[in-house]
């Protein structure tokens, strides 16, 4: 039997707020990090990802207090990303109650950082975060700094390299689909899944439960990260899970 697909809530953090944008831009405040994390946990979400979306811009990291607050009452895995640049940053995140860190910009700047991090703390806590921008059919470029900077790096080459260096999971965000509520970039997710053996988390574009179901049906994902459908109440966690279960998709209940 196929293991249940993990349903992850993604909370983009800016200062004291959870925000949501479109294509990682045009941000709107949707709530407080602690409150939303507790609500989604109580509703049965399987995991929570916090992204400090301005950390790599300003080089500051206010997110640890946010994680620490959540970790007091939320007993599912927590991942923190945004502004993770050094082993000290990772250790600080884990000490604040995070189970994993998501790394993008710092890994692209210096890929060996992934290897050092995996060797020091274990692959199980190192998530490679990829912001993928479609450039041609079957071709995506990796962006950094929350979609603000181009790199010229091919996403499909990069994920293979990151797995080799010791990443334990890959969070793939489609910048094209992000915030559009128009469905996942299933070609991107499928292509990444085909090239690596580690778990792949799909992010960007979930607007309806059917978007999630149709992606899961391709058999290419282990987890989906959703934001809008939870934040705006289009499909709260229990509604999403019961829809998936009714359609024959294994979920944790």
């Amino acid at each position: 039997m196929k293991p249940p697909v993990r349903i992850i809530a993604r909370l983009d953090i800016k200062g004291p707020n959870v925000v949501k944008g479109v294509h990682l831009e045009g941000l709107r405040v949707v709530g407080k990090p602690g409150e939303l994390a507790r609500r989604y946990y109580e509703q049965g979400v399987d995991e929570i990802v916090y992204m400090d979306i301005v950390a790599s811009l300003y080089g500051r990291n206010n997110i640890l207090a946010v994680v620490e607050e959540a970790a007091r009452d939320v007993f599912v895995p927590l991942t923190v990303g945004g502004g993770i640049r050094s082993l000290d940053d990772i250790v600080a995140a884990l000490r604040s109650g995070a189970d994993k860190v998501a790394i993008n910009t710092a890994a692209i700047a210096r890929p060996a950082f992934l290897k050092e991090a995996a060797e020091a703390l274990g692959s199980q806590c190192i998530v490679l975060s990829v912001e993928a921008k479609r450039r041609a059919p079957g071709k995506w470029e990796a962006l950094t700094d929350n979609g603000r900077e181009t790199t010229g790096i091919d996403v499909l080459d990069w994920v293979v390299e990151a797995e080799r260096l010791g990443a334990g999971e890959i969070l793939v965000t489609s910048v094209d689909q992000e915030g559009t509520k128009s469905g996942f970039d299933s070609a991107l997710i499928g292509a990444v899944h085909e090239r690596v053996r580690i778990p792949v988390i799909a992010c960007g574009g979930a607007g309806t439960p059917e978007h999630v179901r149709s992606l899961v049906a391709t058999g290419t994902i282990d987890a989906v990260a959703c934001a809008s459908i939870f934040h705006y109440g289009t499909a709260p966690v229990p509604a999403l899970k019961s829809y998936l279960a009714d359609q024959g998709v294994a979920v944790r209940t």
């Binding site: 039997m1 196929k2 293991p3 249940p4 993990r6 946990y41 049965g44 399987d46 620490e68 970790a71 007091r72 009452d73 007993f75 599912v76 895995p77 884990l94 000490r95 604040s96 109650g97 189970d99 703390l121 274990g122 692959s123 199980q124 806590c125 334990g168 999971e169 053996r197 580690i198 778990p199 058999g219 282990d222 987890a223 944790r252 209940t253």
Partner: protein
């Protein structure tokens, strides 16, 4: 009082928060004397087997933990903390464990690449097949959170308290022998099911 052993390799914050949430008094300590005096011990652990054993060795915790187990102190190992309770581990070469329960820590079976194959590391929520009294009250099929590539293959099948299905194999993920209990999964990250299991350990008398 629960003594949570800090040897630099554990998810101590979350383990502590779970105990706080359950209103259970606890201390987090790396002190070998505290381990000698402990009434009830939680041994967390994250990372590689050999590295965790080195963390225990460098803090002088190996012998105190062995003595605590021998005098019947209830001990709960979590994740790699459970793995090091066995005789040996095979991650990055063979390493001796604490030897509190017979068996070896071995890699999970790989899948065949088919659509139902479980990828290794095995990350996510998996349904427990429970057996034995320790899991009374945890429904068969209850899901808990895993992130691991290795599992504790205890030698005596009678000590296995729960298993999961991984690529066609029935893999042991919880064991209990007398006062020694181990969970390969993370009860502190497994929602109400996991909190309930921690509470069970807090109350259990071997």
């Amino acid at each position: 009082m629960i003594t949570v052993i800090d040897y630099g390799r554990g998810n101590l914050f979350s383990t502590g928060q779970a105990l706080r949430h359950l209103d259970v008094p606890y201390e987090i300590t790396a002190d070998a004397d505290a381990a000698e005096r402990a009434e009830r011990i939680v041994l967390p652990g994250v990372g590689a087997f050999g590295d965790c054993m080195e963390g225990l060795r460098s803090r002088g915790l190996i012998e105190p933990l062995k003595r605590a187990a021998a005098r019947g102190v209830p001990m709960l190992g979590i994740c790699v903390g459970a793995q090091v309770m066995l005789d040996a581990g095979e991650e990055f070469g063979r390493h001796d464990g604490l030897g509190l329960i017979a068996g070896a820590v071995r890699r999970l079976p790989e899948g065949n690449g088919g659509p139902d194959a479980v990828r290794i590391p095995n990350v996510g929520w998996r349904a427990l097949r429970t057996r034995g009294a320790f899991f009374d009250g945890t429904p068969d099929g209850a899901m808990v959170y895993f992130v691991h590539s290795y599992a504790p293959f205890v030698a005596d099948g009678a000590d296995v308290a729960a298993t999961i299905a991984v690529n066609g194999a029935d893999v042991p993920v919880a064991f209990r022998r007398g006062n020694v209990v181990g969970f390969q999964f993370h009860p502190e990250k497994s929602g109400p099911v996991g909190l309930n299991l921690i509470e069970r350990f807090v109350r259990f008398t071997p």
